[in-house]
């Protein structure tokens, strides 16, 4: 009896978790303008609509631009922060880590309001720059965490060994510590990219029609009316997420094999 309860609740929960996307995403290939089953045939024409109808393609390009800029900036800021925090004493480390991680717990609407106002006053309003700035603050904590984790896992003996052989601080850093921490930077870069690429709320406050990213275009089309192109976009975004998970998996496996 208890086994039955367990399997029924597990199946229901698993269905609830996995089914929505598995059911909806195939409709991107449905040869009908209604989003219903049974499918009326297999077609790529909604992908054509995506590539031909503005502003879908331009917002995809915007998303890539903003996400690449964010990845670079967040790697720099989060990486420097992680390496600097490692050199601090106990309390310095606690306080500075809390500061660097804190954007993760601030509701994104609050960050959106704050940044829209402050960036607007500073005269950066609406451009790519303001989006990259905002996404950098959202992504830097993830880079910080990833790099910190990999630096904490390093064997301090390696640094001491290099020092005993006369390597300077800087030489030790860039020939021993940095190469060993590389997987942390790579993981952080992936986190930063996907965070920016999928971000909706802050971008809603900051983007203009010229700089609007793919999630923003998807959000406004969802409010407007449902069409198969929306599912095409959802499918494309899911594929990016899957690529991200694959890359993350590879990184972790390489890290474990070391």
């Amino acid at each position: 009896m208890s086994k039955v309860v367990y399997w029924v609740s597990l199946s229901f929960a698993f269905f609830f978790l996995a089914a929505p996307l598995l059911i909806v995403l195939p409709l991107a290939f449905n040869d009908s303008s209604f989003l219903t089953y049974p499918m009326e045939g297999f077609t790529f024409r909604w992908f054509g609509v995506f590539f031909d109808t503005p502003p879908w393609l331009s917002s995809l390009a915007n998303s890539f631009k903003v996400a690449l800029g964010t990845t670079l900036a967040a790697l720099l800021i989060g990486g420097l922060a992680a390496m600097g925090v490692m050199l601090l004493g106990r309390w310095g480390r606690i306080v500075m880590s809390a500061l660097f991680v804190s954007p993760l717990v601030i509701p994104s609407v609050v960050l959106g309001v704050a940044m829209a106002y402050a960036f607007g006053r500073a005269g950066w309003g609406g451009g790519y720059l303001s989006l990259v700035f905002a996404h950098t603050i959202l992504a830097a904590p993830l880079v910080f965490l990833a790099v910190t984790t990999s630096l904490m896992g390093l064997d301090p003996e390696l640094d001491r060994a290099a020092a005993s052989m006369g390597a300077s601080r800087w030489r030790r850093f860039h020939t021993v510590t940095l190469p060993l921490a590389m997987p942390g930077f790579a993981t952080g870069a992936l986190f930063a990219f996907i965070t920016s690429f999928d971000e909706v709320v802050v971008a809603l406050f900051l983007s203009t029609p010229q700089t609007q990213t793919l999630p923003i275009t998807l959000f406004s089309s969802l409010r407007d009316r449902l069409e198969p192109t929306i599912v095409v976009v959802a499918l494309l975004l899911s594929i990016v997420s899957c690529l991200f998970i694959l890359a993350l998996n590879r990184l972790q496996r390489r890290g474990a094999g070391r």
């Binding site: 059911i23 909806v24 609407v109 609050v110 960050l111 975004l237």
Partner: protein, 396 residues
């Protein structure tokens, strides 16, 4: 100690840029929310003398009249027109009053009687009240509107019926947060249990599904629910095909749609901490209780379940805190009566450009989230729970 000093210099060098960037792009914008919440708008900067006078006493007297005329004389004609327009939004007719008085400001003697002689409206306390309220450098009116509390004549606070709109929205935000938290825990528990104790294959499949869901864009998962729940959508189609319902049900743009979609989006945040805790519960304990004669249900309830509660608390807390700040999912799947605090914050900015109200509501939300985080940390300390297993919710 030259070595310590060296590392301090290195730390400062490395941290200088990140700290500067955080200050400029993060802390300063957050601080501007605090200022916006009490900012009295453009008029407060135009009347420095009058504002200073009202700082001493609020009664309209000769000194106030003189200060008003000084300020008006200092303004250009276009500035007076703009000030008049802003005052007119507060009280009809004030535009002409400000412009006329300003135009003749050099000829009017700086006394209240001369001012009243020029225009009898300056004798009305209501006019002075509007002027005073608008030239003050800071205002509590956004806080008063958001809480519904107004200073009463007796010195305390009073609340008129119907003024508690935003408190009701805050309450609704908490209720939806609790509904979603309860559902994610109910649905997530068996999944976490399977991922921690099932056979290798079950573990792998469940964990893969959870991680895929975790890393799929929130907007994509919300899109799936919008497609599933529409009136002519897949779920209604299935239910009608099964002859369970005669006509389509309203499944979206109401509480049901909002709660179901939010539950799905937040499910991984409940499951991952539960898995982490459940993996630390030794299987030998359950086996031991079984060998001592407990049935499977009793063994689960008395041995396994109490130990898993730590994960339930961390997962539930994470979901609740995240749910409080939700905007996108309820905006797309809920109705007008199911929008949460974030929706109104965004609305004040996007539609009305009312930064003051957006700032006050942002402070409400921020205070709730920080209070919950702090009480969560205190609870964890009180129960002696370690940090390491609790902190992994966000990283997957």
């Amino acid at each position: 100690m030259p070595k310590l000093k060296n590392s301090q210099i290195a730390a400062l060098t490395l941290l200088a840029l990140p700290v500067l960037v955080y200050l400029a792009l993060y802390l300063a914008p957050l601080a501007s929310i605090g200022r916006l919440s009490v900012d009295n708008g453009a008029l407060s900067q135009r009347f420095p003398a009058l504002s200073a006078r009202f700082g001493e006493t609020e009664a309209p007297d000769d000194a106030a009249a003189a200060a008003l005329l000084t300020d008006l004389k200092a303004m250009a004609r276009t500035e007076r027109a703009e000030a008049g327009r802003l005052f007119n939004q507060e009280l009809g007719g004030m535009r002409s009053l400000i412009i006329d008085t300003g135009g003749a400001a050099t000829q009017i003697e700086p006394t209240l009687s001369a001012l009243t002689a020029f225009d009898p409206r300056w004798g009305e306390p209501a006019i002075w009240e509007v002027v005073r309220r608008n030239v003050e450098p800071i205002t509590w009116r956004h806080f008063q509107r958001a809480t519904g509390l107004k200073p009463s004549a007796e010195g305390g606070f009073e609340m008129s019926p119907g003024d508690d709109v935003y408190l009701r929205i805050l309450l609704r935000t908490f209720v939806i947060g609790l509904q979603v938290t309860a559902l994610t825990l109910l649905i997530g528990y068996p999944l976490a249990y399977a991922a921690a104790t099932g056979s290798r294959r079950v573990q792998a499949v469940v964990l893969m599904a959870v991680l895929l869901s975790f890393w799929t864009s929130l907007l994509v998962r919300t899109t799936a629910w919008v497609v599933l729940l529409q009136t002519n959508g897949l779920l209604n189609g299935l239910l009608m095909w099964l002859n369970l319902i005669p006509e389509p049900l309203q499944l979206i743009f109401n509480r049901f749609g909002a709660v179901v979609a939010m539950t799905h989006v937040l499910l991984p945040f409940a499951i991952l901490p539960m898995i982490n805790v459940m993996r630390t519960i030794p299987a030998a304990q359950t086996q031991a209780s079984r060998s001592l004669g407990a049935g499977p249900v009793e063994s689960f309830l008395r041995v396994y379940f109490p130990q898993s509660l730590r994960g339930v608390a961390v997962g539930g807390g994470t979901v609740f805190i995240l749910a409080l700040g939700f905007y996108v999912t309820p905006a797309l799947t809920g109705g007008p009566g199911d929008q949460m605090l974030s929706y109104y914050i965004a609305d004040f900015v996007r539609r009305g450009l009312n930064w003051g109200m957006a700032a006050v509501l942002s402070i409400f939300l921020l205070v709730c989230v920080v209070a919950l985080l702090v009480s969560g940390a205190l609870l964890r300390r009180a129960f002696g729970w370690s940090r390491s297993s609790a902190a992994s919710g966000g990283t997957g």
